[in-house]
Symmetry: C2
Subunit: 470 residues, 2 copies
Amino acid sequence: MNIAASMRRNENGISAALERLAARFGDRLQTGRALREQHGHTTTYIPNQAPDGVFFPETLEDVQEAVRICAEARAPIIPFGTGSSLEGHVNAPAGGVSFDMGRMKRVLAVNPEDLDCTVEAGLTREELNQYLRDTGLFFPIDPGANASLGGMAATRASGTNAVRYGTMRENVLSLTAVLADGRAVTTARRARKSAAGYDLTRLLIGSEGTLGVITSLTLKLYGIPPAISGGVCPFPSVEAACNAVIMTIQMGVPVARIELVNALGMRAINLYSKLDYPETPCLFVEFHGTETGVEEQASMFGEIAAEFSGGPFVWATAAEQRQKLWKARHDFYWAGFTLRPGSKALSTDVCVPISRLAECIVETEADIAEAGLVAPIVGHVGDGNFHVAVLMDTEDPAEMARVEAFVARLNSRALAMEGTCTGEHGIGQGKMRFLEQEHGPGLDVMRTIKQALDPLGIMNPGKILNLTGG
Amino acid sequence: MNIAASMRRNENGISAALERLAARFGDRLQTGRALREQHGHTTTYIPNQAPDGVFFPETLEDVQEAVRICAEARAPIIPFGTGSSLEGHVNAPAGGVSFDMGRMKRVLAVNPEDLDCTVEAGLTREELNQYLRDTGLFFPIDPGANASLGGMAATRASGTNAVRYGTMRENVLSLTAVLADGRAVTTARRARKSAAGYDLTRLLIGSEGTLGVITSLTLKLYGIPPAISGGVCPFPSVEAACNAVIMTIQMGVPVARIELVNALGMRAINLYSKLDYPETPCLFVEFHGTETGVEEQASMFGEIAAEFSGGPFVWATAAEQRQKLWKARHDFYWAGFTLRPGSKALSTDVCVPISRLAECIVETEADIAEAGLVAPIVGHVGDGNFHVAVLMDTEDPAEMARVEAFVARLNSRALAMEGTCTGEHGIGQGKMRFLEQEHGPGLDVMRTIKQALDPLGIMNPGKILNLTGG
């Protein structure tokens, strides 16, 4: 697959920028090979394209100054959180400078009365929740990885709690970003809603570093619910599990998490996490609320599951059991490798209207079997979003061709069902070829916006949009 | 107040556009004076600036063709829903053609399994709910007026249910809009979430017709809850009522509606709707859920209210009582006039972090008293959003100067409390002068986007942004 195509490098500009950054910031600009390669894409099979240097800003002003230096030299800037993105977002196909936000981790404010906080972009979601542990509040968005909050905003991340709490789109009240010319913009005030002008917050969420470097964010927080319960419910088939999900959503049961793992996925989880769940399609569910509310939700869900021959339910009520259950679910990416040791993983995601979910997953399972691939499925099915983790031998060109054709079919299938080519991973390099198919003329509108806000094309080039069209 | 300043008119272009539109669309272009004036701003004190013609498109293709005609002639286009906006959004300060979407009212699809529907932009929220009446589903966003759904998206409307269901920002899955060059763009697929490229949906929501004409929308729907209850709870002071709201939100009570009406507002409601509620600050609340859930919410709220000396609660459990209660609340705009017959109303809104709400309202009440104005207050206080309806004699320059100074202080007060100059009414003409104060450098980013997408400046000129800066 020609996913990480190289782009023309502005050698003189990059050298000039590195020289000026080193002169200004000393050893906060690093150019060692190992470090640079850690800042290229590392989490999946997409080839690593290391930046020419890694810069560690410590303040908003550092980011502004460094962006101005890069802009003057026309050197690419690649914002970097923790590097856990899956579609090549942090690669440097045209070279340039990685801006590692890992030293900007301050919690700037927590406002318990307003259920919000303001943090720097390098803070990770686990660090934030650790910081909040004595407040009774939490931040619910949880992509599998312990990603940085700035990176999560940049990729419009979601995760297992999105069905109840929404995604980064719904949970960022405001953010500050440094644009391609070094201007810092704070997109909104701290009010819960506003009708004051264009929604710059949402424009930057999901822009994957192509419009600016996010430096801080104001996030919604939630009270930790007084009661939480959940567990794992096996089903005789993927259809049965999906139909139970559809009915749960339709009935308005305010489930906090409802995750499908298919039979092969359950096998991987059992192997990796040394568990003994049934190896049939399972729903991992969790209910949040008052004691009474949680009991009522669990009972409603139990009736729905029974209607689709689901059960018996394996409950996890104690906090420790629950943590073990969700750790097993979040470790799914790593569990996949137990099915094919030594393989590399392509973790891809699509999202369809929930009425098409069963059909889409069943067709995809049949497609995987026919293509002779090893590829467990897991999904945030309350949103119609699912992942396929293709375990593959990247040294085998014939297998890679089969994988490429499978991924193209998966995306076409989702698009034909009025779905999207990515529910939460983003476009990066890996999904650019599906974006035109999804957006048609909308893609030109995105290009117009990109060119207006980054006329030199220095912000994370080669991601989301091919500026030359096509 | 110099709010509806005239702009330079392109007389030749406007004439040419009217001529071509008439030739192409016959009597679907109207130029009679009464109709034109109905399509200028009519709902408040901002002077009416009638368009030169009113065009009634019936299809997406009509809109595209007419936009191309106007673009070629450089004639302004003012999208028009029902004309219920409050900040001069539909005025034509540079003349031009009003696009009245009232003939585009088709329901294109209802997908009960996916809890969504696709409708044309001219359909009103009440018409949609009427259409859905046998499905068990409803669309919750309810600004007071029976506005068109396209207009509601364009102004990022919300209303009484927003505290639970969100605003138009959260409830539009996708929309189709015709841009300034006649291109039609559908911003997203029907999936519940997507990380595929820039969020064009949210860019158009709240753009007030300055980036394009919204022609259809895909909206989230909700199941009508099995149980609904609510009522009116009086409090000894605005502070007490606001503190009860803060605690309700903090405790995570999933209240569907929680509305403050101050003492003067209660008097207006009693007079207009012939009711006999206590004339002290009151909260109008409503709970949605299962029988058990609603009982639990009501009991939790009752305890909180009691803690702040609220009560006794006047319950409205029967559907008919509830409708009467909420009709009285929604008629608030009209009720205001009973306090000063013959006056005109300035209905303005701000929104602050909820921790500052009591302080902001109390200071505003004192300011109203000091300025000698008649101005009841009502608010979607669960979001920190409140409205002041200033009843005034627009023929009295001294009073108008006092009103202008009051509005400026109100907005400065909200901004100083990290709030926004409008929670839901939008900017239009009326709030342009506060937008710079709110957004600072963000305003230039908005201008860059506007100029990139509407280089001729024909889409609803003179709203949100002054393109010459300042």
